[in-house]
Amino acid sequence: MNHDDEPPTGPLLDDAALDRLLDASPALEPSAQLMRRVAELPLTHPQRAPLRELWPFASALRLVLSGALLLALGAASALWSAGTAQADDALDELSGLMLGSDLDLEEAP
C-alpha cells in the first residue's frame, strides 16, 4: 500500500496501531430471530424454476437444428401424403372397376 502522499499533519497512527483500533470495533451478531427466519426461507419461499429449465433450447445452434429437423419432418410428411393421395386415387379407380364388373357378373343370368 502506498502512503507516500499523506499530508504531513503531525504524528499519525502507524498501520499496526490502526489495525488494533479497528479490531476494537466489534461485529454485529445475527439475532436468533434472523437465524430462524433465514433457516425457514426454503419452507416459506419455494424455489422458482429458472427460465432455462422452461426453455428447451440450451443454445442457438440447438434452436436452429430443432427448426431444421421440424422443416425436414414437415417436408417428408407432405411428400408422403401426396404419394398416399395418388395411391388412394388409383385404388379407388381399381376398386370401382372391380366392383362394377362384380355387379355385372351378379346380374347376369
Binding site: H3, L18, L21, L22, L34, M35, Q47, R52
Partner: protein, 216 residues
C-alpha cells in the same frame, strides 16, 4: 479474542471481530475442520439449486454472520443489516440456479449484499438529513464504558468515510478478503481497490490519531 459483553445495548449484539479479520473466518465455525474449497461451494450451490435445504444450511452457517457484519459496517443499523442478510439469503435460495462458478461464492454473495446496502444508503440520502444522522451516529450509546466509547469512536470514523472506502475497509480488514476478491465485490479493478483502502486508512489514521497509545 476478547468478546465484549454489552448487556445494556438494545438492538445489536456484538462480539469481537478478530476471528473474521485477515482471512481466519474458519474460527467462527469450530466444528469445521477445513475450509471448503470453491469446488465444494460450487457443488453446494448446485445442490441448493436442486432444492437441497441441507446444502443451503451449510451456506447459511458459513456466511450469515459475515453478511450481517458487513451490512452493519456499511449501514450502521442493526435492523437494516439483518434485512439485507435475509434478502441476500433469499436471493441465494431462489437464484442458486443462476450462479456461475466462475465467480467465487463469497464475492457473489457479498456483492448481492453490497448492492442492497448501496440501495438503502441511496434511499437514506433521498430521505434527507434525519435518515443520514442515523448513519453517522450509529446505534450505539456512548459513555458507558471506555471500550464502548472507543468502539463508538471507531464506528463514527468508519461511518464518516465515503461509502466505497467504507466498503473496501469492511471487506479487506474485517472480512479478511484479498484485494482481488474485494475488487470483485465492488466491481472495480485491483488498483482502484488499493486506492480506496489506502485513502480510507489515511482518513482513519488522521481521524483517530488522538487515540495513539502514547497520546495523553
Amino acid at each position: 479474542v476478547n468478546a465484549l459483553a454489552l448487556p445494556g445495548w438494545a438492538a445489536p449484539r456484538y462480539t469481537a471481530n478478530l476471528a473474521w479479520s485477515r482471512g481466519v473466518a474458519a474460527q467462527q465455525e469450530p466444528s469445521s475442520v477445513s475450509e471448503p474449497s470453491p469446488h465444494d461451494e460450487a457443488q453446494w450451490m448446485r445442490q441448493v439449486a436442486a432444492g437441497d435445504s441441507a446444502a443451503y444450511r451449510r451456506l447459511v452457517d458459513r456466511y450469515l454472520r459475515r453478511i450481517v457484519a458487513y451490512a452493519q459496517r456499511l449501514l450502521h443499523d442493526a435492523a437494516e443489516a439483518e434485512d439485507v442478510a435475509q434478502e441476500t439469503f433469499l436471493k441465494l435460495w431462489q437464484g442458486a440456479a443462476g450462479y456461475e462458478p466462475r465467480a467465487r461464492l463469497s464475492s457473489w454473495l457479498f456483492r448481492i449484499a453490497h448492492n442492497q446496502c448501496v440501495d438503502r444508503l441511496r434511499r437514506r440520502r433521498d430521505a434527507g438529513p434525519d435518515a443520514l444522522e442515523r448513519q453517522s451516529a450509529g446505534d450505539r450509546p456512548s459513555g458507558l464504558l471506555e471500550q464502548k466509547q472507543l468502539a463508538h469512536r471507531i464506528d463514527v470514523a468508519l461511518a464518516e468515510l465515503p461509502e466505497r472506502q467504507r466498503a473496501a475497509i469492511a471487506l479487506v480488514h474485517y472480512e479478511g478478503m484479498s484485494q482481488a476478491e474485494a475488487a470483485e465485490v465492488l466491481d472495480c479493478g485491483v488498483e482502484a481497490l488499493e486506492s480506496l483502502v489506502s485513502r480510507a486508512r489515511r482518513t482513519l489514521r488522521s481521524a483517530l490519531s488522538d487515540l495513539r497509545e502514547d497520546s495523553p
